[in-house]
Amino acid sequence: MDDLSAKIEALLFSEGGSLPKKKIAQLLDAQPAQVDEGLLKLRARLENGGLTLVVSDTEAALVVAAPVAPAVQKAFERELGREIGDAGLEVVAIILYRGPSTRTQIDYIRGVNTSSTIRTLTSRGLLERAANPNDAREYLYRPTVELLSHLGIRDAHELPEYAKIASELAAFEESQKKSSEPFENHATTGDTTE
């Protein structure tokens, strides 16, 4: 028996929600790489059972597996209607397919100020803020496991047409880098609220 994967399973079960991978490592006195490995093993072991693991860049959570989710949903009569507007969905698409992005980058891609949309998405737990290693002044926004599980996927690679769209977007970043104007300089409006 792989000890760490069982401990992670028990910890996530007891928590009853998502936990940052960093925190799992701290609490179980393990290295981040060991936690990643343990999560992979756990997902493999859960295969074909009633539970599965959703993993984002930063978090992990134990959730009900897709094939049995409808039965559970029916049993608990869970209300799941989570409305999302077109603007919100575009921001979500940017962050899922392009990768972690700053508000400035999202604003520039959409051509409008997105601060209130982002705030709504973060307060609903669909996005999370993270420190930006390249620029301490601006946050990066990342997908949460809650966002992934709401889309019914276990990680971002299971997104529809992920490889195609992600590589098309990456090609733009490449051409942008080559062109004279650095991407970050296109800050749109002066709103500083994050």
Binding site: S14, E15, G16, G17, S18, T52, V54, A61, V63, V64, A65, A66, A69, P70, V72, Q73, L80, G81, R82, I84, G85, D86, A87, G88, L89, E90, V92, A93, I94, L96, Y97, Y108, I109, R110, G111, V112, N113, S115, S116, T117, T120, E146, S149, H150, L151, G152, R154, L159, P160, E161, I165, L169, F172, Q176, S179, T188, T189, G190, D191, T193
Partner: protein
């Protein structure tokens, strides 16, 4: 699409989205040609813009000026763009193409949204609470409250942008025609005296349209010199005989 404008909801339509809608409505692909084609419709839309925060209005105007550039080049194929101008045209096309991909992706996500979610547990297993206040104290809590107050988003200042009304090309054409039917002949510099750069471009485009439709002819003695516009549609000029 026009009039479906509501900053109050998150359905707020920005300049790129507006432009992309105009192109997609015409089933065109993103290019100089389609952008020149939708320029008038875009300007008409910008004209009807309601009060928006200054930053948003600036974005609309910025895109409008690039469109005018593209439009002028379409009307004047020999016109040379500076490197900066070429870059701004390319950059606009690139942004539109990327937004198109994002919109495609978000349509895919819309189909998946909440369709078959993976469910979080309804309740976490009960855990007996162990009172552990750590650093919680009146001072730390009130400091946290003050910190929180400082980062609360301020209601967005709905500063009304003081932007000169964007002139519609059609209006300027009508105005130019009137002017020429009275005076037969005018100098471009006089027509655009005390107009800002944006309006000058619109006047220039209007002039080109009149020439193209055969209602006026223009002469320019030397490069960068003033342009003289003459009325051609009223038959032979009566003056000077």
């Amino acid at each position: 699409m026009a009039g479906k404008f509501n900053i109050a909801t998150d359905a707020f339509q920005g300049p790129l989205e507006t432009l992309l809608n105009l192109i997609e409505e015409r089933r065109m692909s993103i290019s100089d040609i389609s952008l020149a084609d939708v320029a008038d419709a875009y300007l008409a839309y910008v004209e009807k813009l309601p009060g928006l925060p200054l930053g948003e209005t600036a974005q609309f105007i910025l895109v409008a000026s690039t469109l005018l550039l593209i439009k002028s080049r379409a009307l004047l194929p020999t016109m040379d763009l500076s490197e900066d101008e070429r870059d701004s045209v390319l950059e606009l096309e690139r942004r539109l193409a990327r937004l198109q991909i994002i919109r495609k992706a978000s349509r895919l996500l819309r189909k998946e949204w909440g369709r078959a979610p993976l469910l979080f547990p309804y309740r976490a297993p009960a855990r007996a609470a162990v009172f552990s206040p750590a650093e919680a104290a009146v001072r730390t809590i009130s400091e946290a409250a003050v910190r929180l107050m400082n980062v609360l988003p301020k209601p967005e200042a709905m500063m009304q942008a003081v932007v000169a009304p964007v002139l519609a090309l059609e209006d300027v054409i009508v105005r130019l025609k009137e002017r020429l039917s009275n005076a037969f002949k005018a100098r471009f510099s006089e027509l655009t005296k005390s107009k800002d750069r944006h309006e000058v471009i619109v006047y220039f485009l209007a002039m080109l349209e009149l020439v193209r439709s055969g209602s006026a002819s223009v002469t320019q003695e030397r490069l960068f010199e003033d342009i003289t516009i003459e009325n051609d549609s009223l038959g032979a000029p009566k003056y000077g005989t």
